[in-house]
């Protein structure tokens, strides 16, 4: 009977979906577990505080942590103001017009450019043309360009959710546009913007291709913005490919995963809190 076929199909389909979905999710989590399992035992305080010795075979990853922090810091310092400024402009100063459409198009396209192209650009522009050499500055500026779309879209979203009544009241009380923005809109949108910045940090930490081409791969502790430096993900990549030390590779990988997870978990928690706050 036709009734039974339908329910049979449904049971089969549901079973397949259950199996497929569960095994997929399990597989993805297993990938992380594999690295964490081998890598966590390697992590101890010395691992984080010692500098790499013998090309990374011994010692820790301290210089790479410094490199990662420095690069991310440069990227945020340059990228966040640009991104938030763009978002403010798009949301507060224009309507949907030719200008805003052009800007959005630019942002969208930038979001889709692969990281190796950013690396090529950073290499030929910052390293060679502006003669900054392989340095934290070159890498940081390239990273800033990469995180720009993320910052713009999150800042825009969070500014968008602020009810116009806030602005109306401010204007009716005699505030100028800029006053309204800085005293009413931005403070309310700040958690969302901050979350976007956090997510950009998460992305910067994991970025490899563009960094190798612009910040180099020197293991020495960087002493200035113009020193080359190795980030954790670059170090991990090099350790893994050259077979220098599997143990160190696992350890760096585990540290990388934990760091990225931590940043993103905080960001997610902030999002949830922010949403609950506003609704």
């Amino acid at each position: 009977m036709i009734n039974r076929t339908r329910y049979l199909t449904q049971s089969v389909a549901k079973i397949l979906i259950w199996i497929g979905a569960l095994s997929t999710i399990a597989m993805m989590i297993l990938i992380l577990f594999q690295i964490l399992r081998e890598g966590l035992p390697v992590l101890h305080l010395g691992f984080f505080l010692d500098s790499p010795k013998n090309m990374g075979r011994e010692g820790g990853i301290f210089t790479t942590i410094v490199g990662t922090v420095a690069l991310t810091a440069v990227a945020i310092i340059v990228g966040a103001p640009l991104g938030v400024g763009t978002a403010i402009f798009l949301r507060e100063y224009t309507r949907e017009s030719k200008t805003s459409r052009v800007i959005r198009f630019g942002t969208d396209c930038l979001a889709g450019v692969p990281s190796i192209i950013f690396g090529l650009f950073g290499f030929v522009f910052f390293v060679i043309r502006l003669n900054m050499g392989w340095s934290i500055l070159s890498g940081g500026l390239t990273l800033a360009a990469m995180i720009l779309p993320t910052v713009i879209s999150t800042a825009e979203e969070s500014i968008k959710t602020i009810p116009s009544s806030y602005r109306e009241v401010s204007y009716s009380l005699g505030g100028t546009r800029w006053q309204t923005i800085t005293r009413v809109v931005l403070p309310s949108a700040l958690p969302g913007i901050f979350t976007g910045i956090l997510l950009s940090i998460g992305r910067s930490i994991g970025e490899t291709a563009a960094i190798i081409l612009t910040a180099g791969s020197s293991l020495v502790m960087p002493t200035s913005l113009f020193s080359p430096s190795r980030t954790m993900s670059v170090h991990f990549y090099i350790l893994a490919r050259e077979g220098i030390s599997m143990k160190m590779a696992y350890g760096t990988g585990a540290a990388l995963i934990l760091l990225v997870l931590m940043v993103n978990i905080i960001a997610q928690w902030l999002i949830n809190r922010y949403i609950r706050h506003r609704t």
Binding site: P163, S165, Y166, R167, E168, Y171, W178, P187, G196, I271
Partner: protein, 335 residues
């Protein structure tokens, strides 16, 4: 900028622009699409409310200056104004050594040793390949270039110093029964004329050739000494450093490749070539001929910190270090 106390009534639910029924979801995946394509337009598409309808308010002109928030824009421009002029200078305190990835691990060891003896110095070792290193010296992007091949043509105007000699070893998996190969056999294996190990005396398995990438000094030396006029097969696996080649061979019993002798460890096996074992003694008595120089390249006479490092590299303790690592020092003969 103080937090404005909120005299405004709290907004009723759903008044914000981004809140469709699933407003917060749009917010969320606006963020998570950073790896991909148009985040925002996607969120627009899935947001039931489209377009912009917010009011454009008129406002009175005020005399009160807007202090708040201008500082971060000012900071940004200050940063930009500082950055660009500074871009022309670079840190004078350190020297950059860039080039061949074959020389790189040894240069790093030497740099580590040098910096422990001279704590105030900074030496940054960078890979990139022989060609890139030479170019970096020409453009002064690096103070010292590392090369694992001889200079050609125009490059010869640069000042070069041989810091060591390195042999190229042909390696296979430790469990591979082959112990010895002739130069012809190696050439035929790499060109693809021979495709199965059984033709070389091994088991019946296809040969996986591993080579370095184009532009590598190691590959050029291999090409020059072994391949001569023939090309390495286009189907060969390509890796961009000696360590990576070694890794592939160490994990593939069917693979054959070539790396710097100094990098051979117990994860791979170096074959003897026509009976000649690749070791330092055979390099010295010229029996093993797959030898290439490791060069430090300078733009003009070395001076200052670069010269100081060069002097160290050519000194007996440094050369002894290189010897220990499997290179052939230029200064002394082994006993």
């Amino acid at each position: 900028m103080q937090r404005t106390p909120s005299p405004y009534p709290s907004p009723p639910r759903g008044e914000g622009k981004g809140e469709g029924r699933f407003g917060h979801w749009n917010f969320v995946f606006g963020i998570y699409l950073e790896f991909g394509l148009p985040a925002r337009s996607l969120s627009l598409a899935l947001n039931p409310e489209n377009g912009q309808t917010h009011l454009k308010p008129t406002f009175c002109k005020q005399n009160a200056p807007a202090k708040a928030g201008i500082w971060n824009l000012g900071f940004l421009f200050l940063l930009l104004f500082i950055l660009f002029p500074m871009g022309c200078q670079r840190s004078k305190a350190g020297i950059t050594v860039a080039g061949s990835t074959s020389v790189e691990p040894f240069a790093e060891l030497l740099a580590e040793e040098y910096m422990s003896r001279h704590p105030e110095s900074h030496i940054y070792v960078q890979g990139g390949g022989s060609t890139a290193g030479i170019e970096a010296v020409i453009t002064r992007a690096a103070h010292i270039g590392m090369s694992s091949r001889n200079l050609i043509g125009d490059e010869n105007k640069l000042y070069t110093v041989t810091i060591a000699k390195d042999a190229i070893a042909v390696i296979v998996h430790p469990l591979n029964p082959i112990e010895n190969l002739s130069l012809d056999q190696i050439r035929n294996a790499f060109s693809g004329k021979i495709q199965n190990w059984k033709e070389l005396g091994g088991s019946n398995r296809p040969i996986d050739i591993v080579t370095r990438e184009e532009g590598s000094g190691t590959r050029e030396s291999f090409q020059k000494f072994v391949m001569r006029k023939e090309d390495i097969n286009l189907g060969a696996l390509v890796q961009d450093s000696n360590g990576a080649v070694r890794q592939v061979i160490a994990t593939d019993p069917k693979a054959i490749g070539y790396i710097s002798l100094g990098l051979v460890n117990d994860q791979v096996k170096a074959v003897t070539i026509s009976g000649v074992e690749p070791n330092l003694r055979n390099v010295y008595n010229r029996k093993y001929t797959l030898v290439r120089p490791f060069l430090f390249v300078f733009n003009g006479e070395p001076a200052g910190a670069a010269k100081s490092f060069l002097d160290f590299v050519l000194s007996p303790p440094a050369q002894k270090l290189l010897l220990k690592e499997g290179l052939v020092p230029v200064l002394q003969e082994p006993d």
